[in-house]
């Protein structure tokens, strides 16, 4: 690892540690304990040094205590009940003030300790990058923030670039190993066919090998089988398909090398059927070209068409991924929903490559949130979303659900998308975030544009701009949530006492809670609380707060409003 990164991160840690001053908090702890003793036994005021607490008292209170302390020391002076009560009352006020200071100090220490911990984790993750680990976007963001203080931007970019490449390679390697465990690998034997014979066959069907680049011919020579190539070319010819080698030679060679006549024939027949079922006036050749843009449709789902070098590693370009199975399953799925496959391939063919499970899972989420099917079926890119529920929650909490419904492709947003932060800033500054254009709700350019740091919000400062508050409770439970794949069943949460109480007291509508003006997605709370129940982590104030605040962009004031509501539920001393 780059020694400079370690040096900088350690320097940053030391800087933060300097602010962790435990002396004050120990002193306050001592005072609190002494004052509690005075409350129990006012006579102990005699041994207490009033000078130390002078700053917390009014002149009158101080003089009063000093007088009483002296009186306690006089044998002949009898302290009355009222005087004892006065001591108790002053001490009790004092105690509250000191406790407040203590809490402030403690929060500061906790915050800094947490920062040190985060940097320690970052150091650990960076070291791991050199040993099959990878850095998350949060790690990279934090690293950029820190490095920017110590070196110029070009150096920072160089370091981040290097770490990104290492991360990419490790992510790829890990994915391959995972996939390899799940799927049977079909290794395509190297055939090394004769180039002259290949040239003759291609010429026979009207294709000039001299137009094809060497890298593409090599694929064909290495993995092609004459009979298979001839069969595929026959099918194309029978269907009057002529492929323009100037534009699609890579795809053409990929299909000849890795597909077979059965798959090509099936896809052609499906296209014909789709055209027949479609009311659109389209040319078969044009639609076939759309399919040709995705050669993986023509390859079976088994992976690997190269020789494996070692047990755990594939080099780039040594394998091909097939998506024929995904294509068949997704075609059946969308056709059953009444969708026109011609529109699908023209608008968003890549969704047909996705695992069918991902499409089904996303549909389940859309249905759960009562998104009308005509909305998601007319915005097919929404099926690419990796966590649509998170985006929907955010739009609900920012009161922009209608905008989402009219612009449903935005459901692919991550919960920390800049757009969400800019909407908050626009609201704070009383600037409109949305406008109506041709009867449709649209966001202004300063909300959606990814460049120019519109409204002063950038990837690096978004949290600061809205004074986002990250309570400690939120981070503690993340590890339990991250390992859980949710199945959209929140029955246990729905029957949970605290959720029922939330519903009774704070429900705004089916989709949201209203905590004294702070709107929170109800389904988000149900989802995360259900996951915590399953992990035996529910039942505490912190767990409920976590489920409520997870991913929400809240400032400290809003967080405290929620906290008060949750504490109220827990302070009722109920039986669960």
């Amino acid at each position: 690892m780059d020694e400079r990164i370690i040096e900088i991160l350690n320097a940053e840690k030391s800087k933060i540690k300097e602010h962790i001053n435990t002396a004050t908090i120990l002193d306050l702890e001592k005072k609190i304990s002494e004052l509690k003793e005075i409350l129990d036994n006012p006579n102990s005021l005699l041994n207490f040094n009033l000078e130390e607490i002078k700053k917390y008292l009014s002149e009158f209170e101080y003089a009063n205590l000093e007088y009483l302390k002296q009186a306690l020391g006089l044998e002949y002076f009898l302290i009355t009940h009222n005087e004892l009560e006065r001591i108790k009352s002053i001490i009790s006020n004092l105690l509250a003030k000191i406790k407040e200071d203590y809490q402030k100090e403690k929060n500061e220490i906790d915050k800094n300790t947490q920062k040190v911990q985060i940097i320690d984790n970052l150091l650990h993750n960076i070291q791991n990058v050199y040993n099959s680990g990878y850095l998350s976007s949060d790690d990279l963001k934090l690293l950029v923030n820190i490095l920017n203080q110590y070196m110029d931007i070009s150096e920072v970019n160089k370091i981040i670039g290097k770490l990104c490449i290492l991360s990419i390679n490790n992510v790829e390697k890990n994915n391959e190993v995972d996939e390899n465990l799940k799927e049977e690998i079909q290794v395509a034997p190297e055939t090394n066919i004769d180039i002259n014979k290949l040239s003759e066959i291609l010429m026979e069907y009207g294709y000039d090998i001299n137009i094809i680049a060497a890298k593409n011919i090599n694929i064909l020579r290495k993995y092609g089988v004459f009979d298979n190539i001839r069969n595929i070319l026959n099918i194309l010819k029978e269907n009057n398909i002529v492929i323009d080698l100037k534009e699609y030679q890579s795809q053409f060679c990929m299909i000849l090398a890795h597909s077979d006549s059965e798959i090509v024939s099936n896809i052609i027949n499906n296209i014909k059927e789709d055209i027949k079922n479609s009311k659109k006036d389209v040319l078969f050749q044009d639609i076939f070209i759309n399919y040709l843009e995705y050669p993986s449709f023509f390859i079976r789902n088994t992976r690997a068409y190269g020789r494996r070098k070692s047990k755990d590693s594939w080099n780039d370009n040594e394998f091909e991924v097939g998506a024929y199975k995904n294509y068949l399953e997704n075609r059946a799925f969308f056709t059953n929903l009444g969708l026109n496959m011609i529109s699908v391939i023209k608008k968003s063919g890549k969704i047909l490559l996705l695992p069918n499970k991902k499409i089904l899972d996303n549909k389940k989420v859309f249905d759960t949130y009562h998104i009308p099917s005509q909305i998601y079926l007319s915005t097919l890119s929404c099926f690419n979303a990796t966590n649509p529920a998170e985006a929907i929650d955010q739009f609900i909490e920012l009161n922009c659900f209608e905008y989402l419904l009219q612009n449903f492709s935005r459901v692919i947003f991550k919960s920390d998308n800049l757009v969400f932060y800019r909407i908050i800033i626009a609201n704070i500054r009383n600037i409109p975030a949305f406008m109506e254009s041709n009867g449709k709700l649209k966001a202004y350019g300063y909300i959606t544009s990814p460049y120019n740091n519109e409204l002063g919000v950038s990837a690096l400062n978004r949290s600061e701009m809205v004074q986002q508050y990250y309570p400690k409770e939120i981070q503690t439970f993340d590890s339990f949530i991250n390992e859980e794949e949710f199945d959209n069943n929140w029955m246990m949460a729905l029957n949970n006492y605290f959720i029922k109480k939330l519903d009774e007291n704070y429900i705004y509508d089916e989709f949201s809670y209203d905590f004294h003006g702070v709107i929170i997605s109800r389904y988000k709370v149900l989802r995360y609380y259900e996951m915590l129940i399953r992990k035996s982590q529910a039942g505490t104030k912190e767990a409920l707060l976590y489920a409520i605040c997870k991913n929400s962009i809240l400032n400290e004031d809003e967080y405290n409003k929620i906290k008060i509501c949750v504490e109220r539920l827990f302070n009722r001393g109920v039986n669960r």
């Binding site: 981040i160 992510v171 534009e247 091909e320 023209k346 544009s449």
Partner: protein, 101 residues
């Protein structure tokens, strides 16, 4: 993987995002269409489209086409207006497919 994009100045962060946000199959299909994809990127740059990184991540299928096809899709619009709309909100690239339907 996606070396051809690095060679034309697309940064590693964008490439990492592309790999994370898209299926392995579509990444492979893009590799297969690398020459056309480079032409399309050049064309979008000529039009002064500034959100190419975002389009590569979220609208990767745009780059599976040919430059000719993309020019045809753009030609149905007032290009200056469309470019402004796309730069303001890159999801507006979807207009070219809607009109094509």
């Amino acid at each position: 993987m996606l070396e051809f994009l690095k060679n034309i100045g697309i940064n590693d962060r964008t490439i990492l995002k592309m790999i994370n946000e898209n299926s392995e199959a579509v990444i492979q299909d893009l590799e297969c269409n690398s020459d056309n994809a480079v032409d399309i990127i050049d064309y979008l740059k000529e039009l002064d489209i500034k959100v190419i990184d975002e389009l590569l991540v979220d609208r990767i299928d745009l780059f599976l086409k040919t430059k000719r096809e993309i020019m045809k899709l753009f030609s149905k619009f007032n290009i200056a207006d469309l470019v402004k709309e796309i730069n303001d909100d890159y999801f507006n690239i979807d207009y070219i497919f809607e009109e094509n339907d």
